[in-house]
């Protein structure tokens, strides 16, 4: 582990001025990912600013029925168990509870979860010489390597890593907005614009600026999200990253016609993958397996597999069908 200095921030503005003052400074939240990566030698910050004392842990209703705000330092387990989340956004509660272990969820913050880094083996272990994310220009070890867990959508020949977060997938389906504070004040970043596709700069993973602090996540009011679902497909029954996951909500009108749909996929791309093609395909159709399959086919038409992960294409289609079928069954 690289030597580093450690300071504590009292409030958000002190945190922001602190990170701007010294290069290679990082915020320390729950530490469940950052500390791990520092031990591996992947992250080598010169300074950590402990932000866990900042008053950003509340989950509260926004005025005027505009939705719910989650403080950036709220712990994953607290948000998962919060009644507002369980009642209005069950998909998010389920996504949290499908992730990691109880011990990790008790530590991990939602702001940190937004910035969770990929589990690509070639990124995580500096013994591998090639990784454009860790060492820009070195190449992608996964492309010709062991790539069972890698991306099938939106990847580039520079990087085929996936975003490992469960929470992010639910947030993408819910059109969440990330609130950040920087030296020039506050701004909002829609979740769709928060994470980036790898392109030629896979080392830049989000549109958060290095001197910005995430303060909250806003969930807009989506009445039909009260019936939403998170499906996580993994290699064992518990405690594993998703091979494929689906966050979904459906609004059904008369005669089981679909009037609104939200679908996002996890485990398939460099960012939580909002399945807009599938959503579009569903609108106005009858909620049945045939419709769901057609929507899944539309979304995965552009998918591309590699030596070890091509199975994910069919698995993702089936997962969409299952998630939507589960929601439809809940409605009847």
């Amino acid at each position: 582990m690289n030597p580093f200095t450690y300071i504590k921030a009292r409030d958000a503005s002190q945190a922001v001025s602190g990170i701007a003052a010294k290069p290679q400074t990082k915020f320390l939240g729950g530490g469940t990912n950052l500390i791990d990566l520092m031990k591996m030698g992947v992250e080598t910050p010169a300074q950590l600013i402990d932000i866990t004392r900042l008053p950003l842990t509340q989950v509260e209703e926004l005025p005027g029925g505009k939705g719910v705000r989650i403080g950036a330092l709220a712990r994953n387990s607290d948000v998962a168990e919060h009644s507002l989340i369980q009642q209005r956004y069950p998909v998010l509660s389920q996504a949290f509870l499908a992730g990691a272990s109880p011990q990790l969820r008790n530590m991990a913050t939602v702001g940190g979860n937004l910035l969770q880094r990929t589990r690509c083996y070639y990124f995580y272990d500096p013994a591998f010489p090639k990784c454009n994310k860790r060492n820009p220009g070195s190449g992608c070890g996964a492309l010709e390597g062991y790539n069972r867990i890698h991306a099938i959508l939106g990847q580039s020949d520079q990087c085929i890593a996936t975003n490992p977060s469960d929470m992010n997938v639910a947030l993408a389906a819910l059109d969440a907005v990330v609130r950040v504070q920087g030296p020039k004040g506050e701004r909002e970043i829609p979740i769709a614009d928060f994470h980036r596709l790898p392109g030629s700069t896979p080392n830049i993973e989000t549109n958060l600026q290095p001197d910005e602090l995430i303060t909250a996540i806003d969930l807009p009011a989506i009445p039909f999200a009260a019936r939403s679902h998170y499906l996580k497909v993994r290699d064992r029954a518990s405690y594993a990253f998703a091979i494929v996951s689906v966050a979904a909500a459906l609004e059904l009108g008369a005669d089981r016609k679909i009037t609104a749909a939200r679908i996002a996929l996890g485990g398939v791309a460099h960012k939580p993958w909002r399945a807009q093609k599938a959503e579009k395909e569903l609108i106005g159709k009858t909620a049945d397996e045939k419709t769901f399959r057609a929507a899944a086919e539309a979304e995965l038409a552009a998918a591309k597999g590699y030596k070890h992960n091509s199975f994910k294409i069919e698995l993702a289609k089936r997962s969409i069908v299952r998630a939507l079928s589960t929601l439809t069954a809940m409605a009847s």
Binding site: M1, N2, P3, K39, G41, R119, Y121, Y122, D125, A127, F128, P129, G141, E144, G145, Y146, R148, V233, R234, D235, R236, A237, S238, Y239, A240, F241, I243, F311, E314, L315, R318, S319, V321, R322
Partner: protein, 771 residues
């Protein structure tokens, strides 16, 4: 025993208990010892049990390694300047400055009394790189953080060469070893070719693949090395073999054996990875010598994947020929495995499954080993038997389907009363009862043999079974006992408790053999100062150390008799010691007139002694060549599979085992459960994957290498059948640490076929293979 007709499916009426319940209970009470809780349980749950690297040694520094990221080549330069100048650094060892290790002990066969080296080289003694992950430097620093940071500053340059990483690449180096230690691994009996060509027979030929599996005990390997001067060395080492470590370290550093002490009172799981002396043990001792301070080296979880052995991958081709009514006429088992270029460890799959399990007039076992530039494999719970039974028991399932015979009936039709190669009877073999009881407990008679025929709502249900087997191994051990006048005793042997419950089992055996209450016995192990104990491997410890306890108890009784016969106040005064033995708990007396007896405590008090101490001698175990000794069992399991998202969930397991006497019922049950859990991992989740370019493992932590979680494991119903095997040893126990994992992967794979109609012949059975 109810008859199960061979050649057709058994009907429900066929499955009757082997014995009426009352009768069975009587037999089993002699076979199964008391269900005691672990004597060390409280120490463990309160954290008071000290594992090797938890010992506190004053002035202790920390070692951290640098590993190669090429699989083959030469080190051309090492720049250690920055590391040497980093805060807290006491020494940086590379091949350029590390003193030469002196020598290795001569290899001994079988029991490995001289210690075990799977990787037959010394670390940091030359510039050769043999595999990715090889330790190429060691940093010793005052704190673990300083050591870790300084290690990241060591710059190593290589001249890489093309590595051999697969069987295909190493084809030209392949070897067919005649023996694995003392055991013949190329077997030929009868005319296999003729049977395989016989058009009247039903035949199956299939290839089965198992991947590399890595040891992941909760306690990773680790060592603290402490020198006193330059001639005395103490190691706190996580090991299955304190005497082996002692001998190898004494040779490596040119020390007198008694000047090397190994201490290991508790082990947090081992399963084979702590049987040999691995490089970190030698490095800890060398680092401490060079830096002049004690050094602690804790192998990281990441380095458990390169530095402590693994189960080598296997490719096994099974060819079976049988008559239409299910009698095997030929079994051919060809296995191909990997080993490293710096060791000779081999996984003898065929010899340890097909070589013992079924009656057949023709049997051929072939084994080919490919040396590759991958770190050295080692023992992993039932090495050979475990992958071997997976392949053979899947092939038998495929044969049962081809013959339209129930899988249990097929196995009964080919049951081996005699060892199929040695042609001597098996001792106390009760496999038929294991099938019977297992089938009964599981409800096997209700199985519809048609694949995809059984459902639970939308879920596919599959039922599968397989035979389990593991040989009864015997090694040599000695023990020491100190009996005190207050009727308590301390028994010592340099054996080990790997988390298995050995402390409890040995306390139980000591209580029975010495004739003292369980609570009055203190059993001590895990120190090289104690009388010889062999490696805790091959499921040998209970029987081997139990036999030593039996012998030392006899010596103690004799020593008491010698005191009593000289004591005019004893009822045994002037009698012959040969006529005296233990006649009741705490008493010796005349064998043929038990009214003449004397209490241990009285004998000692009258002799004016506070205590009496005796020690047995280590001698080679007695061999009985007229019988074959092997443990047996049957696994029955149920899986449920969602046809759309086909992750396999094991929902029920019944395991019935025949292991001779079960000394300690509770810990024995845990052992079988543990084997089954590990077998679920083998069948469904565990695989060490390697990067095809660098040869480095990619799944190198517990997030990426999937051991089963609680949610993957159903309730496991364990039962025992049989009788004490006193022909094997005076304890009647054949050992049972490994048998639980044998066969279970096949039972699950067979259940998956039954559920889905898909035969997956490469493990693990992950959902991508079932889509």
């Amino acid at each position: 025993m109810a008859k199960i007709p061979s050649g057709k499916l058994p009907d429900g009426a066929g499955w009757q208990p082997a014995l009426p319940k009352a009768e069975r209970d009587t037999v089993m009470s002699a076979t199964i010892g008391p269900a005691r809780s672990r004597v060390d349980g409280r120490l463990k749950v309160t954290g008071a049990a000290k594992y090797s690297v938890e010992f506190e040694v004053p002035e202790c520094a920390y070692g951290w390694t640098v590993e190669s990221n090429i699989a083959k080549g030469k080190i051309t330069a090492i720049d250690a300047k920055a590391a040497q100048g980093a805060p807290g650094v006491l020494a940086v060892l590379t091949h350029l400055n590390t003193p030469k290790f002196k020598s290795a002990p001569k290899k001994e066969g079988g029991g490995g009394g001289s210690g075990i080296r799977n990787e037959e080289r010394f670390p940091l003694n030359d510039d050769e790189v043999h595999y990715a992950g090889q330790y190429v430097a060691l940093v010793v620093a005052k704190t673990i953080e300083q050591a870790r940071h300084a290690a990241s500053l060591v710059l190593v340059s290589y001249a890489p060469e093309e590595p051999l990483l697969t069987m295909e690449a190493a084809e030209h180096k392949a070897e067919k070893p005649k023996k694995n230690n003392d055991e013949h691994v190329q077997i030929k009996k009868g005319d296999v070719e003729a049977a395989l060509k016989d058009a009247s027979l039903v035949k199956i030929e299939q290839t089965y693949i198992t991947p590399t599996e890595t040891h992941n005990p909760i306690e990773m390997s680790g060592t603290i090395a402490v020198w006193e001067g330059d001639q005395k060395l103490t190691l706190y080492d996580a090991t299955q073999f304190v005497k082996g470590v002692q001998n190898i370290l004494a040779h490596a550093f040119g020390l007198e054996l008694e000047n090397v002490r190994i201490i290991c009172p508790f082990v947090g799981g081992a399963f084979g990875c702590k049987g040999a002396v691995w490089m970190h043990v030698l490095l800890a001792a060398m680092g401490a010598k060079v830096a002049g301070v004690p050094v602690k080296m804790h192998v990281t979880r990441r380095n458990m994947f390169v530095g402590a052995g693994h189960r080598t991958p296997t490719r096994q081709t099974l060819s079976l020929a049988a008559t239409r009514d299910g009698k095997l006429q030929a079994i051919q088992h060809v296995s191909e495995t990997l080993t490293s270029t710096v060791g000779q460890f081999t996984e003898s799959c065929g010899a340890r499954s097909t070589g013992v399990m079924y009656e057949s007039p023709a049997i051929r076992v072939e084994e080919t080993v490919f040396p590759v530039n991958v770190s050295t494999p080692t023992f992993m719970r039932a090495p050979g038997e475990c992958p071997g039974t997976y392949a053979l028991e899947c092939a038998l399932d495929e044969l049962a389907i081809a013959l339209k015979i129930d899988p249990v009936a097929l196995r009964l039709a080919n049951h081996a009363d005699n060892h199929p190669i040695k042609n001597v009877p098996f001792s106390a073999k009760h496999l038929k009862e294991a099938y019977q009881l297992g089938a009964e407990k599981f409800g096997w008679a209700k199985r519809n043999p048609e694949p995809r025929s059984m459902r639970d709502g939308d879920l596919l249900v599959g039922w599968g079974m397989a035979t389990a087997t593991y040989p009864a191994h015997k090694m040599s051990a000695a023990a020491k006992v100190q009996l005190r006048a207050n009727n308590t005793a301390t028994v010592q042997c340099a054996t080990h408790d790997l988390g298995t419950g050995a402390y409890t089992a040995f306390t139980q055996i000591s209580s029975e053999q010495l004739g003292l209450p369980f609570e009055n016995i203190t059993f001590e192990l895990g120190k090289s100062d104690f009388p010889f104990g062999p490696v805790a491997g091959g499921s040998n410890s209970t029987g081997t150390v139990g036999t030593a306890i039996h012998e030392v108890a006899g010596l103690l009784h004799k020593a008491l008799a010698e005191l009593a016969v000289k004591d005019s106040k004893s009822p045994l005064f002037n009698l012959k010691t040969d006529d005296i033995a233990m006649v009741a708990p705490g008493r010796i007396g005349l064998k043929n007139d038990t009214t003449k007896s004397d209490a241990y405590a009285d004998i000692l008090k009258r002799a004016g002694k506070d205590s009496l101490e005796v020690q047995s001698e280590q001698k080679p175990p007695e061999e009985n060549k007229k019988l074959a000794f092997q443990s047996w069992g049957a696994h029955f399991c149920e899986v449920k599979i969602d046809p759309l998202l086909p992750r396999v969930q094991v929902t029920r397991v019944v395991s019935v085992m025949n292991c001779g006497r079960i000394v300690s019922a509770k810990t024995a049950r845990s052992q079988i459960m543990g084997g089954v859990v590990m077998g679920i991992g083998m069948a469904l989740t565990e695989e060490t994957s390697y990067d095809p370019g660098t040869g480095l493992p990619v799944t190198r932590n517990l997030a990426d290498y999937h051991v089963p979680t609680n949610a993957d494991v159903p309730e496991i119903d364990v039962a025992f059948v049989g009788e004490p095997d006193f022909a094997f040893n005076p304890i009647g126990a054949r050992g049972m640490g490994e048998i639980g994992i044998t066969g279970i992967a096949a039972a699950i794979a067979n259940a998956v076929y039954h559920a889905t109609g898909k035969r997956i012949r490469d493990l693990p059975i992950t959902q991508d293979k079932l889509i």
